[in-house]
């Protein structure tokens, strides 16, 4: 077992606790693959050490190398408040607070019936205040994402069958506590609930909790729950590090409906509201949920295109319609080639695709031809389709912006642009006919979430691929020696919102471009040039003499390796890094003249 994939495949074939321990150790030993680091600090009032192998393995599975700092047992007060605590020096990307109510407020768990309603409310308020203090203190000194466990609903409610009937029953009280915890975290920003209570109810108390280890060693969670919990932590980490998938590519026959449309015809396929059609309909609902979360949908089917389109257009039960799909490959070509074409058409990386098919042969073929594509092979029984799709953790993002919710629509506008492009005589004529209005401004409260999200998700047109949380961005906007620029774009078809970001730091007479990135949807329209021109003007206004930029190569950003040389920057001699400089004594960089308007809003 010399590669990450071999270790993970070996584990997959028999995912026992013992194998997790071995796999975690093997992953530590693999050094030939440089994965991006994820720095996790885990603070806790329970013994949670046995989670470490699971956390290492799931990080590795997400393409991340775990660096873990484990706080001492029940030591949060010192971890967070004591000066010189190693927590902040560690510079965590993610800070997790695994707190169990048994130790925070034992009476709420163990002697609930001795409490009056007022006393239970008071305890809830104390717990919330305690957690709030800790989270705010972390937030002040760290820009990391903060994750806080919510609290377990009791397996056996204190008041028995009456418990749920009472506003101040134990279950309702803990439910309120969890609800208020979520509200408080939301107000702090960059802080999220880890739904431990939800994980436990999915798994079952007997599978998740262990009273023996709780009493013997203060370790309440069984390996199966720890495995799920580690998976949940890594979902946040992967979203933060831009590992999320962007497009769901679906097979049609026996996936979106039962049967083969080419043989059974539109009236013969199974998509009715009762079994077995109901299973396919519920699967379509789950696909639509992803659509509404901003995941692009595409089709990859061996069929006559007219047959498939007839179903999507005319079948009375079908929830999915042609307009939901931004790319379609309905032909007799091999599915790997189709997937490559879909990625190229949408200008996203091939590793941003998830391919779903019921046919094991197709799945195996795509898996071997395109190992970067995540493949979901549907189970044999269609009643399992919905759950199989919903359990995928690859689509998570830390925010849901209005750009996400309109994403598919934006891609459809793009195809209208393509049609216009084909009609235009020249590229410049086409760009003019788009009537583009570009706005470049300093980041503000409205734009910060989208800016952070773009730094987390953009891979191709990204010079340095530095990932920032919302709090990182907020801190930079407060720094007088840093400019954070957003760029938004509107044209005759659509308002694309914020599509490019630049972060520039100023020191002495030099401006340094920390980040320069652009959404791949708008490549080829000269936006980057007008943004660079604006950045140079800003640096000149600050009396800088030169602007320096860096290209940090990754597996995905070769597209921009010549960006600086194309814009009049000259290479700076450096043994390892690709650094570029442009003196501001040179004439200003021109804005392309095909924009209808360029609005610049300085801070």
């Amino acid at each position: 077992m010399n590669s990450r994939k071999q270790v993970l495949d070996w584990l997959e074939s028999d995912p026992s606790s013992t194998r997790y321990i071995t796999a975690a150790r093997r992953l530590d030993e693999i050094s030939d693959e440089a994965l991006p680091e994820i720095r996790v600090a885990l603070l806790r009032n329970i013994v949670i050490e046995p989670i470490v192998p699971y956390l290492k393995v799931h990080s590795g599975r997400a393409g991340l190398q775990l660096r873990l700092q484990l706080g001492n047992y029940d030591n949060l007060q010192e971890d967070v408040f004591q000066s010189g605590s190693p927590l902040f020096e560690f510079r965590p990307d993610v800070v997790i607070m695994a707190l169990r109510l048994q130790l925070l407020a034992p009476k709420l768990v163990l002697s609930y019936t001795s409490l009056s309603p007022a006393e239970s409310e008071e305890l809830v308020a104390q717990v919330l205040a305690r957690v709030d203090d800790l989270v705010r203190a972390i937030r002040e000194r760290s820009a990391g994402v903060i994750l806080v466990h919510n609290f377990e609903r009791p397996a056996w409610p204190a008041y028995g069958i009456l418990d749920l009937q009472r506003t101040h029953g134990q279950v309702n009280t803990i439910h309120r506590l969890n609800e208020q915890l979520a509200e408080r975290l939301q107000r702090i920003g960059g802080a999220f609930v880890v739904d431990l209570d939800g994980l436990l109810s999915r798994l079952g108390y007997d599978q998740g909790l262990d009273q023996r280890y709780w009493h013997v060693g203060r370790a309440p969670y069984r390996p199966r729950l720890l495995e799920q919990l580690a998976r949940e932590y890594v979902r946040f980490a992967a979203a933060l590090k831009g590992k999320n998938k962007k497009c769901l590519v679906l097979d049609c026959d026996n996936t979106l409906w039962g049967g083969v449309v080419g043989e059974d015809g539109i009236n013969g396929i199974r998509l009715e509201p009762n079994y077995p059609g109901s299973a396919y309909l519920e699967f379509q609902h789950a696909v639509l949920d992803l659509y509404h979360r901003g995941i692009l949908l595409a089709l990859n089917s061996k069929n006559n295109e007219a047959d498939v389109l007839e179903v999507l257009e005319k079948h009375p039960s079908s929830l999915l319609r042609p307009s939901h799909f931004v790319a379609k490959r309905i032909n007799w070509n091999d599915k790997a080639t189709n997937l490559q074409e879909i990625a190229a058409e949408l200008r996203i990386g091939i590793d941003s695709l998830v391919f779903v098919d019921d046919n094991p042969v197709e799945c195996a073929y795509v898996g071997s031809a395109l190992p970067e594509v995540q493949v979901l092979q549907l189970p044999a029984d269609p009643t399992g389709f919905r759950g199989a799709l919903q359990s995928l953790e690859w689509f998570d993002t830390l925010t849901l912006t209005k750009e996400d919710q309109r994403r598919s629509e934006m891609y459809q506008r793009e195809s209208q642009r393509q049609q216009l492009r084909e009609k235009s005589q020249t590229l410049e004529g086409y760009l003019r006919s788009l009537e583009m209005v570009v706005e470049i401004g300093a980041a503000d409260a409205f734009s910060i979430p989208r800016i952070a999200q773009l730094t987390q998700k953009t891979n191709q047109f990204n010079l340095t691929t530095r990932r920032y949380s919302e709090d990182d961005v907020r801190l930079m906007t407060e720094d007088p020696r840093t400019d954070v620029f957003y760029t938004s774009l509107r044209d005759r078809f659509d308002d694309s919102g914020i599509i490019a970001v630049a972060i520039v730091r100023y020191e002495n007479e030099r401006a340094t471009i920390d980040t320069l990135l652009m959404s791949c949807r708008v490549i080829g329209r000269g936006i980057e040039q007008t943004l660079l021109a604006t950045m140079l003007e800003a640096a000149r206004n600050r009396h800088c003499e030169s602007v320096e930029g860096e290209y940090v190569p990754t597996a995905k950003n070769a597209l921009v390796k010549d960006l600086y040389s194309q814009n009049g920057f000259t290479p700076v001699d450096h043994p390892e890094r690709s650094l570029w400089r442009r003196e501001l004594s040179l004439p200003p960089l021109a804005h392309p003249d095909w924009f209808q308007e360029v609005k610049i809003r300085w801070r």
């Binding site: 321990i21 013994v47 046995p50």
Partner: protein, 88 residues
């Protein structure tokens, strides 16, 4: 037949020990204990018993957990369980 079951159990037990404590299986001897295996601290002791419970599909009682402090003691506890129930 009896002997085969025993050696099979012992072999599987050694493998789990080896994985948890990062040893080669033949480094796991009968008198292996926290004194001879530096990684065998209270934390790994818990990891070990959790792994064993899963591997052999058994549940130790809390009293058994407190006594499982050498390789031999753990093997005997497992053997005692195998007379009560079949270890799969």
């Amino acid at each position: 037949m009896e002997i085969k079951v025993l050696s099979n159990l012992e072999e599987r037990l050694k493998r789990v020990f080896a994985e948890v404590f990062a040893l080669a299986p033949d480094e796991v001897t009968d008198d292996a204990s926290p004194k001879t295996i530096p990684r065998w601290d209270s934390m790994n002791s818990m990891v070990l018993t959790m792994a064993l419970e899963e591997e052999f599909d058994v549940q130790f009682t809390d009293q058994e957990l407190m006594k499982m402090n050498t390789f031999g003691a753990i093997r005997d506890a497992l053997l005692a369980k195998s007379t009560e129930e079949t270890i799969g």
